[in-house]
């Protein structure tokens, strides 16, 4: 079949494009064991610097590439020096979060400077097409392949034969030993970030030219695909990243061939999950490689939590409970309703991420499962709304735990990557499973909240309802943490080897945590569905997951009161900053960075 040849070639062409980002990610991971979520933002910056060079300054292609490489490398050096180096001795989750914050700041700065309108980035290569099979390739395809291969080769030579390369590899193997042998670790890190950023920037330029289009939304997609390719190939393995990218391209292309275009990303993320479950170190990791994460739990900051006296909590809860009696506007109440709903999600995530140490980046999927279940129960089976919401919670608990259970054997970063992928998969299944979820049309006409036949329509009654549900969930969770179960959870987080040695079954406890957490998140999603009356696959997106994680970190991982405090702060602050509409995400990113830098254990501390 000639079509299969075409699908293969197309898959390789796209994989080629992914490889440029993946190589940079692999390099950084190889040295600093960090998944750099800001790589996509450097790619974006590179594309726009290229646009300025090509369209405004009319530079020829070689000059453009050099300009972009140098400027992007500078950005990389700045990120390394001011964003990540101060976190060297911090816990391992800190730099990961810092890169997320940096990507917010960079994306937003680009958007503020150049406006969010897409722009054309004309290719500077002659427009010749070569016929291969049923399709054609152009000189830009060859250039991208050339840059990808050449950079992989150069890196290989650099790492194997140059002195700095040896230092890089030594640092990757054992940072402390390398330092003792006199390796200037900071210089190594600098070199690596500079090279990776230059690669990232050039890839943004080339991909922009390839599509003749750049816009400020391209960064997240690039990061996602790059991370998938890198992890598939074996994190930290540069040739592995190239092969992983090609494989990703092929899987997507064959997925389109067999099932159709709308399934494309589903295959990308399924590939990732399958690889993570079967070969957590990636397809091409050597057996001799050190385990990707330390055995004992230094992933999360240990700290002494702030003790809040019980009477203060009671007073605060009392104040919020009687708030509607005071002349506050419905707008304030609605904002607080949002905070309570986010609070329930944060309770769920703080248990899963904080107490048992499974940092989830796909938590919005639990909201979506709860929301769809509750909406469909009440619409299709005319279930009373109260019961439907509980049904949503139960479904989230069951389905969420079942989906995540294959990745229970993963640690640290890999859990985050796997949950990120599962979150995307859930959203894509909702989009494609039309007979049940009504696909992109979404579900409209969801009945409003009601309890025992009374409709809760006024913001005041919704406020009380969501507040009470959240408080009940919080009390339950507090009780849970105080019991032996809570102690077992924390034991697993802090040292899973020791916990296992004491006879704790890791999978069982992780399941328990996800069941409880899934229920809280599902209830939150269910309430939201009835509040909004309309949901579709975009209502609960990745940004929600990242917001929830920020809330949890702000409050202090595992900290119940902290989760609620964080939710109020992160729902409230953007509303306060409404005047500075365009700058809100920027401020949000900066707050995240400062928090990670100066108080990684969160406002109230890890419990």
């Amino acid at each position: 079949m000639s079509s299969w040849l075409d699908y293969t070639i197309n898959g390789l062409i796209v994989g080629n494009v992914y490889a440029l980002v993946a190589v940079g990610l692999a390099l950084i991971f190889g040295v600093s064991r960090l998944i750099n979520f800001a790589q996509g933002s450097i790619y974006l910056v590179g594309a726009y610097i290229g646009w300025v060079a090509v369209v405004q300054l009319h530079t020829p292609l070689p000059v453009t590439i050099i300009v972009v490489a140098v400027a992007s490398a500078l950005v990389g050096l700045i990120i390394e020096r001011f964003g990540l180096r101060p976190l060297q001795n911090s816990v391992r989750i800190a730099p990961l979060l810092a890169t997320i914050g940096i990507s917010f700041v960079l994306d937003q700065l680009v958007m503020l400077t150049v406006s969010p309108n897409p722009r054309a980035l004309p290719s500077q290569l002659p427009d010749i097409r070569f016929q291969i099979g049923g399709g054609t390739i152009g000189p830009l395809d060859l250039l991208i392949a050339g840059v990808g291969l050449a950079s992989a080769l150069l890196l290989f030579v650099f790492l194997r034969y140059s002195k700095l390369g040896w230092a890089v590899r030594a640092t990757a193997q054992d940072r402390d030993a390398a330092m003792q042998m006199g390796v200037d670790v900071n210089r190594v890190n600098q070199a690596v970030f500079g090279i990776a950023a230059a690669l990232g920037g050039v890839s943004g330029l080339l991909v922009g030219m390839y599509y003749n289009q750049i816009d400020t939304a391209m960064s997240l997609q690039a990061t996602l695909k790059g991370v998938v390719a890198e992890v598939v190939g074996g994190a930290g393995n540069v040739p592995g990243a190239v092969i992983g990218s090609l494989l990703l391209g092929l899987v997507e292309s064959y997925g389109v061939a067999v099932f159709g275009t709308s399934y494309r990303n589903l295959f990308a993320f399924l590939l990732l999950v399958v690889v993570l479950v079967l070969r957590p170190n990636g397809l091409f990791a050597s057996a001799r490689q050190a385990p990707p994460e330390p055995l004992t739990g230094t992933f999360i900051a240990p700290s002494r939590p702030v003790r809040i006296p019980r009477w203060a909590l009671l007073v605060a809860a009392g104040l919020f409970a009687v708030l509607p009696f005071f002349p506050v506007s419905f707008y304030v109440l609605q904002t607080l309703i949002n905070a309570w709903l986010l609070g329930m999600l944060a309770l769920s995530l703080t248990l899963v991420a904080g107490t048992i140490g499974q940092v989830s980046l796909g938590h919005a999927a639990l909201l979506a499962i709860g929301a769809y279940t509750s909406a469909l129960l009440s619409l299709t089976f005319s279930a009373p709304v109260g019961l439907a919401i509980i049904g949503g919670g139960l479904m989230s608990a069951a389905l969420g735990t079942a989906l995540i259970s294959p990745s229970f054997r993963l640690r640290g970063h890999y859990v985050s990557i796997a949950t990120l992928a599962i979150g995307e998969i859930v959203s894509l299944v909702i989009l494609n499973w039309e007979s049940v979820t009504r696909g992109p049309i979404g579900i409209s006409g969801i009945p409003p909240l009601s309890l025992f036949g009374y409709e809760l329509i006024s913001p005041i009654s919704i406020y009380w309802f969501s507040f009470i549900v959240m408080v009940v969930l919080a009390l339950l969770q507090g009780r849970l943490l105080g019991s032996h179960l809570g102690r077992s959870f924390r034991a697993i987080r802090d040292d899973d080897v020791a916990a296992r040695a004491y006879g704790l079954s890791l999978n069982r406890y992780k399941s328990l945590a996800f069941i409880f957490g899934g229920f809280a998140a599902g209830v939150s999603g269910g309430i939201a569905a009835h509040l909004y009356s309309y949901i579709n696959h975009e209502t609960f997106n990745t940004q929600q997951s990242i917001l929830a994680l920020t809330v949890v970190i702000l409050g202090g991982l595992g900290n119940v009161v902290g989760a609620i405090l964080g939710a109020v702060a992160l729902v409230g602050l953007p509303e306060v900053f409404r005047i500075a509409a365009e700058y809100r995400i920027l401020i949000y990113g900066i707050v995240l960075l400062l928090l990670v830098r100066f108080r990684p254990q969160g406002l109230l501390g890890t419990i």
Partner: protein, 385 residues
């Protein structure tokens, strides 16, 4: 909740306070303060570009309204709240607008999840939600305070199908559509109409908005051997598909929905969009005076920039809002009723816009059949390409 009594008490005291505030303000406002419209839309986040385009259209319309003496001597103004097209924020904004007595009606939001999540609040609060880009078939079913001038896809797609099948003579079609509520609804209407006109739809492919690479999709399209490609796309993805179709050697006629009508489509698509056919609601050489006024005014205000479809939607929406407020005054219920009364408002998209009271939408969008010739949109001269 058993405390119904308390709730009504609170409500009563709140509304008393609000009424008091409104009264003192009304007494003061009669002369100098502008009539305020609330706008809920994306200024940041992934849809930020559309919020920016809205503003351009609004500002141009407001300049003209103010120059013509405003609304019975008072100025018209809007307060734009950034929702990032996120339902969580649009519901908070909805409460904000509903409880702000200065706001007389609301415009937006952009995406269906954000708009329709806020609808119950506007409906219960008795504030008109005027969604001018909300093509979701269920949007105006949210209640009698939901009105929309978004071109109904049940109207637009048969026009496109007629262009492709009857005029261009295409018999076997491949439909590529954005897999969103808009794209899906449009596709269904298009496919239905195209079949009625006697064409065969060989393949339909939905893609997500972030998609960039369409090569494998285009292999599927090629294998279905259609004689025409139909793009139900926005301008950026439409340009990407057209480019890649030409690169992989597909030479079929391409026919696109009006949402690609933007100078950006030409810029991003380059030579690949040459000879692309599209149906639009207006075009630059359109002799209608409202179109000429809009295009000339827009170019003058924004340094020669060509307006696109979203600019036209928001420009029309602001003019419609002004017409409604002229009839309904500043009372929110009277404004809702005014939507049913307003007649033949001059409009770029509709020519003369009058609401169908039953569906709360406007029917009968204008139609022009364009083709890209020498890098410009031109009226199709009937010659095959």
């Amino acid at each position: 909740m058993s405390n119904i009594d308390r709730r009504t008490l609170v409500k009563a005291s709140l509304s008393a306070m609000m009424a008091g505030a409104a009264f003192s303000r009304a007494a003061f406002a009669q002369s100098s303060e502008p009539i305020l419209l609330g706008v809920s839309g994306p200024l940041t986040g992934p849809n930020a570009q559309y919020g920016t385009q809205w503003k351009q259209g609004f500002d141009l319309a407001l300049d003209e309204i103010q120059a013509a003496g405003g609304i019975n001597g008072r100025k018209l103004a809007y307060q734009f709240e950034d929702s990032q097209s996120d339902p969580r924020q649009s519901v908070a904004i909805a409460q904000k607008f509903v409880s702000d007595p200065r706001i007389v009606m609301e415009l937006g939001d952009f995406s269906s999840p954000a708009s329709m999540a806020a609808s119950p609040i506007y409906q219960r609060g008795g504030l008109v939600q005027f969604g001018f880009t909300n093509s979701h078939p269920d949007f105006t079913k949210g209640g009698d305070f939901m009105w929309s001038t978004s071109v109904s896809q049940a109207d637009e797609q048969p026009l496109l199908a007629a262009y492709a099948v009857k005029r261009l003579g295409l018999k076997k079609l491949a439909v590529l559509h954005l897999n969103t509520d808009w794209g899906r609804t449009s596709r269904d209407h298009f496919v239905k109409a195209a079949k009625e006109y006697g064409a065969e739809v060989a393949v339909t492919e939905g893609y997500i908005a972030e998609e960039r690479d369409f090569r494998s999709t285009l292999v599927r399209v090629r294998d279905a051997s259609p004689d025409g490609l139909i793009l139900i796309s926005y301008y950026s993805d439409g340009a990407l598909i057209a480019r890649q179709a030409r690169q992989v050697g597909l030479k079929q006629t391409i026919c696109a929905a009006s949402s690609v009508y933007s100078p950006k489509f030409l810029e991003l698509g380059g030579e690949a969009v040459e000879d692309v056919h599209l149906g639009t609601r207006y075009f630059p050489e359109d002799p209608r005076p409202e179109v000429q006024k809009f295009i000339a005014g827009f170019k003058k205000k924004y340094n020669g920039q060509e307006p696109d479809a979203f600019n036209a939607y928001s420009y029309d929406a602001m003019n419609m809002a002004a017409a409604v407020v002229r009839i309904g005054g500043t009372d929110r219920r009277a404004i809702r009723d005014a939507f049913a009364k307003v007649k033949d408002v001059s409009s770029v998209i509709f020519g003369q816009a009058t609401f169908d009271v039953e569906s709360r939408r406007v029917k009968g969008a204008m139609n022009a059949e364009l083709v890209v010739r020498k890098g410009q949109f031109a009226l199709w001269d009937g010659k095959p390409t």
